[in-house]
Amino acid sequence: MTDRNNTPIAEKGVVEQVRKISGSVWDMTIHSPAIAGASRAGQFVHVRVSDGFNPFLRRPLSVGPCRGDYLRLIFVVKGVGTRLLAGKHPGDIIDMIGPLGNPFPAPETDQYPILVAGGIGMVPLLLMDNQFVNSIDHDFLLGMRSSAHQTVDDVEIKRLKIVIASDDGSIGYHGTVIDLLENRLTELKRRKIVVYGCGPVPMLQSLKEVCVSRSIPAYISLEVSMGCGVGACQSCAVPRADGDGYYLVCRDGPAFRASAVDLNAGGRS
């Protein structure tokens, strides 16, 4: 899609800190100099959560903010694998391959970036903010179900000037993050916009429709079931929008031009 992926690195990271952000959302800082130094926003690491084979597969997780030799993984505990990960302690070793896949392209110099996140989908966008856009004017919009499902803490929300929408109105704007996006697009209609999105597939579908109808370039990051993470097993297929077969999320994505993929049948978040 964009530039070909770089060379995967195998690294045994060391857990520096693990903390709970809210209900089932965890934030882990890992000392992983090679991967942290090479990662770009939108890329992922393939994490072995167990020393044995239960669960059997690695877990693909977006690389969050990186600082120096450290990277952050922010994840929702959904099942056995993420529960094991959340149970790690400082000093524990994390077996990772990364950075994998293609990153988001950087905004062009005359583009005004809008980052649109749904729930845990804000992880790659935190790195995007960190690497590409914090020095230029931009918007960072985040949708969540309620204040109980916060995926980023208040300090970071304030520091990054993240604008929040919640389904129940318990925090920020009462509505969806797509409502926020449409409002901003109306306010910014004289600007040349580029949108970066990550979140649940229905949200990404709406984002794609909004952007395509206004001819605004949009890039989205997808998460799907995955095997090897390096393009060998072809498990992580997502249908191409042109109907000509499939892309692989691990190799051709996870960041795609929104118009290139068919979200009706493919990825899920």
């Binding site: 072995r48 084979f53 597969l57 095997g227 090897c228 097993c233 072809q234 498990s235 297929a237 049948a265």
Partner: protein
């Protein structure tokens, strides 16, 4: 104590019995920055068909509550011409033995693919995939028919002198007659076994978890099934057997060799541990040292029944 890990495989010598199984290690080049191929016994590529195949609708892989994983890739591949144009120059043929897995919907397709691959230097042999559970035609049906398997083997034999293994399905009640027919037709070896047909259902959504509904079940739960097939085949044919089915550690590998396997293919385990061919060999050497075995090949077929 030094343990000799080399294995004579008909006309081929492998420096270790551990290979990567078809479909789990891509075309052989994807892991180049992560592994040292020269420490592997060999690499078996994804199955290559005559025309490119897009594969099955997603989702294509998931874990199961019984352990192991289930997949339905649907033989997605570049097609033989795309493989030759895009991959022939980057295959790890100088570092290890490279075997190309070949698939077809007909005898003619198998022959046409192999004929084209004959022009690619460095290939050590072929593995004929007559047993993929994830395609409608050919595949599983072909592998279930003794005469059809023999026809594929003998027609492919007529266009190549290279080493040729036949990968069979675990679905036979009795594997002997198919194995015997394939040897008579010119097979040099067998790979036992392919994945077991299976499916996974999500009760909450009332939906299958694979886009293709059914898929191929693999991983540790398959080991007893594959062990039985290897042992049964070893009773009736006198050609090397590559075991494939849930091997995740050195003891698994030893068990398969005792049952009659000369080679060991690693599959699903590679998704968690891509360097498993090196780790598992070390674990097998430990076993040999512990039991005073100085040649790994001395263990082949030494099961005491």
């Amino acid at each position: 104590m030094r343990v000799d890990t080399s294995i004579r495989m008909g006309r081929l010598d492998l420096q270790t019995p551990l290979l990567t199984g078809s479909g789990t290690f891509g075309y052989g080049d994807e892991f180049r920055s992560l592994v040292d191929y020269s420490r592997f016994g060999g690499v078996v590529t994804k199955s290559i068909s005559l025309e490119p195949r897009p594969g099955n609708p997603p989702p294509r892989i998931c874990e199961t509550s019984a352990g192991g994983i289930i997949n339905s890739i649907g033989l997605a591949n570049l097609g033989v011409d795309g493989f030759i144009a895009g991959k022939a120059g980057v295959l790890p043929v100088d570092e290890t033995k490279l075997f190309v897995s070949v698939v077809g919907d007909s005898v003619e397709e198998f022959v046409a693919v192999v004929e084209r691959l004959e022009g690619v230097a460095g290939i050590s042999g072929y593995e004929l995939n007559v047993s993929c559970p994830n395609v409608r035609r050919g595949g599983l049906d072909l592998g279930g028919d003794r005469d059809a398997v023999a026809a594929v083997v003998s027609e492919v034999r007529s266009v190549t002198g290279r080493f040729m293994s036949v990968k069979l399905t675990p679905h036979y009640a009795v594997i002997g007659p198919v194995a015997e027919a394939a040897v008579r037709a010119g097979a040099d070896a067998f790979t036992l076994t392919n994945t077991l047909s299976g499916m996974v259902v999500d009760a909450e959504s009332r939906k299958p978890l694979l886009g293709n509904v059914t898929g191929g079940y693999s991983g540790p739960p398959l080991k007893p099934v594959a062990l039985a097939k290897v042992w049964q085949a070893a009773q009736v044919v006198d050609v090397p057997i590559w075991a494939s089915g849930g091997i995740i550690n050195g003891i698994d590998g030893i068990e398969f060799m005792l049952a009659g396997a000369s080679g060991l293919q690693l599959g699903s385990v590679l998704f968690a541990d891509y360097d498993a061919p090196v780790r598992i060999l070390e674990e097998m050497i430990e076993y040999c040292v512990r039991h005073g075995v100085d040649r790994l090949s001395d263990l082949i077929g030494r099961l005491e029944v």
